[in-house]
């Protein structure tokens, strides 16, 4: 099992969710995060002083998947989250040693 972690632009969440649905992924966990990267934040003004907002709002999606679904999932995310503009985000894949469904105590792929 792997944990596929994607950092995407917030307004792409809906599309990514649908793309994952289409390949049969029904579960995921989403977090509001702030991203810092090549994409520079904008300059804002407050009462006459300029300041740079470095951290841009992003959404992090975490999806635990069986090994054989990893690349399909990553692909689906990349395709649906892409705008081609800087700041589109990343997909990370992290090894997952165990997964348990709290409700049923099922473990392994069955828990996902």
């Amino acid at each position: 099992m792997k944990l596929v972690v994607a950092i995407i632009k917030p307004f792409k969440l809906e599309e990514v969710k649908e793309a994952l649905s289409e390949i049969g992924i029904e579960g995921m966990t989403v977090t509001e995060v702030k991203g810092f990267g090549r994409q520079k934040g904008h300059t804002e003004i407050y009462r006459g002083s300029e300041y740079t907002v470095d951290f841009l709002p992003k959404v992090k999606i975490e999806i635990a998947v069986p090994d054989d679904v990893v690349s399909k999932a990553a692909e689906a995310i990349v395709k649906s989250a892409k705008t081609g503009k800087i700041g589109d985000g990343k997909v990370f894949v992290i090894p997952l040693e165990e997964a348990v469904r709290i409700r049923t105590d099922e473990a392994g792929d069955a828990a996902l």
Binding site: F11, K34, H42, T43, E44, I45, Y46, V53, D54, F55, P57
Partner: protein, 452 residues
């Protein structure tokens, strides 16, 4: 008379050297003759009520600002607040520049239809600061008259502001709202309040009846808003490609509720001040019909939304209060309390279905301004014929006249601005929010990591 004043001085033995407002007043009254005392006193208290009512109408602008901010997304809140600061400011200045003298003309450019006045001068000159203003035609000084009317002026633009929120280009809106208030509203107003054609229907006997402005203020704003929204189009993502409605949620129900309660509060000045004096009879009636119509609108919209939507919807309940208020505005002094209750209750039903209807036909109005002000404005105006004895024909003519004018004026103005400078922010800006895009500011920056 001089003696009387002297006696007065004697009574108040410890009178100081400084000027005495009471003695001055007494002296002034007595210089006219004792028989004028009631006139002076009635004038004074009526004028006091007029300026207090002006203050109450002012606070409606805070109500509009918070209602609009509450029913839209937090990424557009700075923009909405900014627009409301702009509207009240430009509304007041514009009304001083040319609105007031348009509403009280004598000087039409096109008789009974179009007359644009100039800036106000010293309105206290020529005895206008006493009961002489308007030859006793009004129980207020010219400044009282001015400030009360000026507070109304910006309302039309505020109504549009809510309907076009979350996507309109700031600079375009600023120009649009200025022209709407400066020329559109003033002209429509002059038809009714400036002695124009609406006030002369049926030779004046069947004059259009619109007590505090269901049609002339709220209807005007609602019709203008409809045109604006039609040109502007819906917010991105509101209607999906497969034709479904995807609600875009307002970000703060407490702000929205504060807005509605403040509007309700201010409406006592809006309607109550439109009595144009402190005459106890109509004043008590108007306060009562206003409050009961609002309450009835609230209750009926609660049950309507409960029946239709299966859940009691707060935003509908809030709109119901406003619907009741708009519905009674045209006839607040002319109907009985139970008629007011019926008028408000029907308004509360109408507003629910109207909001659903406009959503269905893809007229995207984030705050329901078209339904609350436009649709209930029609109902409120017509209802005076049903319950208050006004001429049905005149009411209809008035509604059609004002709504068509407002719609066309707004449409043409918007199309011109669209052609010249565009009216809509870029897609990217709309996604990101107008706060960052137009102002480079956030409404709630503290919740972000950076400010820690």
């Amino acid at each position: 008379m001089v003696m009387a004043v002297l006696t007065l001085g004697a009574v108040t033995a410890n009178a100081q050297e400084e000027e005495s407002p009471v003695a001055d007043y007494t002296e002034m009254v007595e210089s006219y003759g004792a028989e004028y005392a009631p006139a002076f006193d009635f004038f004074t208290v009526s004028m006091l009520w007029t300026v207090i009512a002006a203050g109450l109408v002012f606070i409606m602008h805070l109500g509009f600002a918070t209602l609009e901010a509450g029913l839209t997304q937090s990424k557009n809140t700075v923009n909405i607040l900014f627009k409301n600061v702009w509207i009240i400011s430009i509304g007041l200045i514009t009304y001083a520049l040319l609105g007031f003298n348009t509403h009280y003309p004598g000087a039409w450019q096109i008789e009974n239809w179009i007359g644009i006045g100039g800036p106000i001068g010293d309105l206290n000159a020529d005895g206008n600061d006493t009961w002489g203003y308007g030859g006793l035609g009004l129980a207020m000084t010219a400044y009282g008259d001015f400030i009360f009317q000026a507070m109304f002026a910006a309302t039309a633009a505020t109504i549009v502001s809510g309907a076009v929120a979350e996507r309109i280009k700031l600079s375009s809106f600023m120009i649009y709202s200025t022209i709407l208030v400066a020329f559109g509203y003033t002209i429509a107003g002059s038809w009714h309040w400036g002695g124009g054609w609406l006030s002369q229907l049926g030779g004046g006997d069947d004059a259009f009846y619109d007590f505090a402005g269901s049609t002339v203020v709220h209807g005007f704003g609602g019709a203008a808003a409809l045109a604006a929204v039609m040109v502007l189009g819906p917010r991105l993502g509101k209607y999906t490609k497969d034709g479904k409605i995807k609600p875009i949620l307002g970000h703060s129900m407490p702000l929205a509720a504060v807005g509605v309660f403040l509007l309700f509060f201010g409406w006592f000045g809006f309607n109550g001040g439109s009595v144009l004096s402190a005459n106890p009879g109509p004043l008590g009636l108007v306060f009562t019909t206003t409050a009961l119509a609002a309450a009835a609108g609230g209750i009926s919209s609660i049950f309507t939304s409960w029946l239709v939507l299966k859940k009691p919807d707060l935003s509908m309940a809030l709109n119901g209060l406003l619907a009741g208020l708009v519905s009674i505005t045209a006839g607040a002094d002319a109907v009985s309390v139970w008629s007011a209750v019926i008028m408000g209750a029907i308004g509360g039903v109408i507003v629910v279905f109207s909001i659903l209807f406009f959503d269905k036909i893809k007229i995207d109005d984030p705050v329901g301004a078209i339904s609350v002000h436009g649709v209930c404005g029609i109902w409120g105006t017509i209802a005076v014929a049903i319950f208050g004895g006004a001429s049905f024909m005149s009411q209809l003519i008035g509604v059609v006249g004002v709504y068509v004018f407002a719609f066309v004026f707004s449409l043409v103005l918007f199309l011109i601005i669209k052609a010249i400078m565009g009216i809509r922010v870029s897609e990217e800006e709309e996604f990101e929010g107008l706060d960052i895009g137009e102002h480079g500011q956030e409404a709630y920056p503290d919740f972000s990591v950076t400010s820690r």
